[in-house]
Symmetry: C2
Subunit: 227 residues, 2 copies
DNA sequence: ACATTAATTCAACGCTTGTTGAATTGTCAA
DNA sequence: TTGACAATTCAACAAGCGTTGAATTAATGT
């Protein structure tokens, strides 16, 4: 005789004072990790449901279509990251006033929030950084999402860099930013994988080590091109 | 009454003097483009077959499984690119002898073959560069394929850079190489898309423009970190 | 106590996926 | 001319896909 598992909880759960549901967050966190690691087409809603410990249908119930879910996952921490970066930039600028903030300080304002994210106890931030790298390098999602959620912030940073480098053309500034963005993306894309190319000299999950060298590397490149 | 299309050619085609079949090349070229643009999981063997103008079953017949095909596509031009880069490096080194080749010259040897590829009349090279970017930033394929086909060459270039920068540690060299690799990948990942972030100041499909600035940018970064 | 409603499950839909085996066609060597 | 065989097509397989509608459960407002 078939017997249902009575231990499974169903129906409406006890109300909490949080604005977003616990099950919804579980889905978002699992999606964040899976999308970052295997890409949009690389995972299945059923795989995701299993990882989140949730029924498949619940994903559609909360977030609509698969691509809607992807957008939601991407947007969630984008807002936070933007706020942190903007805050860091404004702090650097006010500290340098009445002079302009230096290239190094502007770049640091751009990168430091990511360092904090990497070191956060919330491991979801590490996944999000990898997701950011995936989206940035994706021909399919890059245009759609990066522009939508980061264009305005990037323009602000470019303005700050223009102040620090008065001889630079717009093309110079944007290309140099582009190089920085690429270097950063690859670093996050490799999070967790040990780079066998380097014979152990450089482990990609060691963000601290990458971060320390990145600021002088990028700043020096900016100065050279935008002199 | 159902009538078969008698105009479709089947059976063994006339023998050519080329080592690889014409149909097989059509499949590889179409796969190169689709994989680069939409990723491994983003395309279907049936989509690929349509693009190549070929029956689906022929893909398996020639190349085995889907992942076998991916490996074959990636390997095809990797060998050529490796030979070109090695040749360029050796030329730079012999021109500088008895001194070591400068950082700029080594970086140029690494990048210049890609510039030639971009300008090639064989448009497949453009697709391959985008594929390279996809693989490099992919958590799934990065370890598998980059190491398999490029590790040896990268080590050779690192050796050349070590000669040019005697004070650099291995970690310095590998991280700086890593930044260069990331900057390059993002450039190729964006091939063909106009970067709206830049308000027109920088179009990602303009590789010439990216290339010109990249050498001074990267070389300057190397010198700063590895001083 | 009771109706309401949000949260969750279950089962299924129609379609697509990668892959395979058998049948068919054309080429070439003998 | 014939026989072998490579290249190509066709049809189908089992499995998996995203999504949906109906049923079920539990908390809530009155």
């Amino acid at each position: 005789m078939p017997q249902k598992n009575k231990s499974i909880k169903v129906g409406r759960p006890a109300k909490t004072n949080k604005e977003s549901s616990a099950r919804g967050d579980k889905i978002l966190n699992a999606a964040e990790e899976l999308f970052a690691l295997q890409g949009y087409d690389g995972i299945t809603l059923r795989t995701l449901a299993t990882k989140a410990g949730v029924d498949v249908a619940l994903i559609s119930y909360y977030f609509g279509s698969k691509s809607d879910l992807f957008d939601t996952v991407f947007k969630r921490r984008a807002k936070i990251l933007n706020a942190e970066r903007l805050n860091a930039l404004q702090k650097a600028q006010s500290e340098a006033a009445p002079a302009f903030a230096s290239v190094e300080k502007v770049i640091e304002a751009f990168l430091h929030p990511l360092k904090i994210a990497q070191e956060s106890s919330d491991s979801g931030w590490k996944n999000y950084c990898a997701l950011l790298a995936y989206v940035n390098n994706s021909a399919v999602w890059g245009n759609k999402l990066m522009g939508k959620y980061f264009n305005s912030l990037v323009d602000t940073f470019i303005d700050a860099l223009r102040d620090a480098l008065p001889n630079a053309s717009d093309a110079d500034l944007y290309w140099c930013y582009h190089y920085m963005s690429g270097a950063l993306s690859l670093t996050f894309a490799n999070t967790g994988r040990i780079d066998k190319m380097s014979k152990g000299a450089c482990q990609s999950d060691d963000f601290q080590s990458a971060y320390d060298r990145m600021i002088p590397f990028i700043a020096s490149g900016f100065r050279q091109v935008c002199a």
